[in-house]
């Protein structure tokens, strides 16, 4: 059953969640994306039943077990790892040995069996995260909710964790709701993204829909990456609508790539350089911004290129001009959605 928020309003002090309308399908990986202070955590607390809406309704969560994992994990410091994982089972009608068995099984699944008698303060960040997820998983939740799960991690660990989350989602097949302020994380994980600003959902859609067509300038600015393209990768070549782009990425049937608009060069003639991606196309739109000029060049796919006002004037670019678009392989960020090809152990 899908989760549905219908015109949900909630006032909390000075902050106001306004007319939230969100639909999350069963088994979907939904990412709630927004800057800090935008109301993401309050929204998931509404979904988890920790807050009641002032008006509007939330359906699809009644009687469901939710596993909410907060940022910083909120492991109870006065209990050890075992007691933390077993915590939710205390309130169910289970014998001691049944609880022990379940804790052993789930801790094996998360590779924390050797930590069961440790104090929480002795754990590393990664161990804490696994313990927190194990504590939620032991209750077999129908809905997993993660609040900024990677914000405390460094870049490499972040990417590893994302891949673990993808695998975990695939294995459980449950509905995942994931809160983040990091759009790269959103693209690499989400089936669907909801963007929240200042207590309002400003856009929902697949990563493709959102990045192709941001609902507002605020959304576009927040996303930063203007050129997000959906396609597939084979032998280091990304293909979308017949346009082939050289990338650094493994084979995958579903991939998003992103190129920053200021990482792309515009030229009248083809540039002889080390950059491997060069396409000729026609200027379809020109937007003058305070920061510079955005030129849309259609090379089979529309590319948004940001140049300075001076370059724009010097090159006397007009709609219909034919220009070369050039960028390096290293300026292409690759967000693979495939778990099977990536993960050697599966």
């Amino acid at each position: 059953m899908e989760i549905r928020l219908n015109n949900v309003n909630k006032k909390l002090g000075d902050f106001h969640l306004k007319n939230l309308n969100i639909t999350i399908s069963e088994g979907e990986y939904f990412v709630l994306l927004g800057p800090s202070g935008s109301g993401k955590t309050k929204t998931i607390e509404l979904i988890a039943g920790l807050l009641n809406p002032d008006s509007g309704s939330i359906s699809g969560v009644e009687g469901k077990q939710t596993g909410l994992i907060y940022q910083d994990y909120m492991l109870f410091p006065h209990l050890n790892v075992y007691e933390n994982i077993a915590y939710g089972l205390r309130f169910r009608d289970l014998r001691k040995d049944e609880i022990r068995k379940k804790v052993e099984n789930v801790s094996e699944e998360f590779g924390i069996s050797h930590l069961l008698h440790k104090k929480i303060e002795m754990l590393s960040g990664g161990e804490k995260q696994r313990t927190a997820i194990a504590r939620a998983t032991i209750l077999s939740p129908d809905i997993y909710i993660f609040d900024e799960p990677t914000s405390a991690l460094d870049r490499t660990l972040k990417e590893m964790t994302r891949s673990l989350f993808r695998k975990f989602h695939k294995r459980t097949g449950k509905t995942f709701i994931h809160v983040t302020h990091d759009f790269e994380e959103a693209i690499s994980l989400a089936d669907k993204i909801g963007i929240i600003f200042n207590g309002e959902i400003v856009q929902t859609g697949t990563p493709d829909e959102i990045f192709k067509c941001p609902a507002s300038k605020t959304v576009a600015d927040f996303l930063g990456f203007k050129n997000v393209i959906k396609g597939e990768v084979k032998n280091g070549i990304f293909n979308s609508d017949g346009v082939n782009i050289a990338v650094n990425g493994e084979d995958s049937s579903l991939t998003y790539i992103a190129v920053r608009s200021d990482d792309i060069l515009l030229s009248e003639k083809e540039i002889e350089s080390s950059a491997r991606n060069s396409f000729i196309g026609e200027v379809t739109d020109i937007y003058k911004r305070s920061s510079g000029v955005e030129v849309i060049v259609d090379v089979g796919l529309p590319f948004i290129v940001e140049i300075t006002r001076k370059s724009f004037d010097d090159m006397s670019i007009k709609e219909g001009s034919r220009l070369w678009v050039t960028f390096k392989v290293s300026s292409v960020r690759v967000f693979s959605h495939d778990t099977d090809i990536h993960d050697g152990d599966r």
């Binding site: 039943g49 920790l50 909410l68 907060y70 909120m74 109870f76 915590y87 939710g88 205390r90 504590r135």
Partner: protein
Amino acid sequence: MKLRHLFFLPGILLLLFLGYPLIKMMFNVDPSILLDTAKEKEVINSIILTLRASLIATIAALITGIPLAYIFARKEFPGKKILEGLIDIPVIIPHTAVGIALLSAWGRHSFISKSTGLNIVGTEIAISMAMFFVSVPFLINSVKSGFRMIDPRYEKTALTLGASPWQMFYTVSLPMVKKSIISGSIMMWGRGISEFGAVIILAYHPVTAPVLIFERFQNYGLKYALPVTVIMILISLMIFTIIRIYEARK
């Protein structure tokens, strides 16, 4: 001279000011008189009474004060600041005034006494009540700041893991403020033991240790008041040191 050394000097003066009278008193007492005093029934009874009455006050404060501290820490409501200020009043008003206030509320001619026939003046209950009144802020403020320090997300996590609000409270909130509860209780108990002003107005008899010290000083002079004082101080020091060591070990 380093800053550290400069800071030592006033610190040493302060410690001397606190320590000197206590040490002087210890050495002024004849050990044999001290021993004789310690065997006196009146002295033993008054000390036991003092410790017990304050303990009862502390237990009563734990039962009524922890829920209140939790409400103060977690809930916002109109008039909260005023109520929190009310809790602190006993710390700032003279304790004899507290005794007078309690006497007018609970004494022989009070409404409560007249309507119920209850007369608490001169009973151990009255002593506990006086101690409770003047020392409960120490417990409530300590537990309140303990609860404030707990991230509410711990409690919310407990709720999503299936705990009822009550189960959440006693499996998460309460254990997490254990330290504050213990230190607040010690502070309150200690403060209760030392209470004189409010107690003497509400109950001269049965005689608590601070009243006994005062009585002996009034009737027989410094020399007779000293041994009881020293014994009281030694016993208090012993108890609190034991509790602190026990706490530090855990």
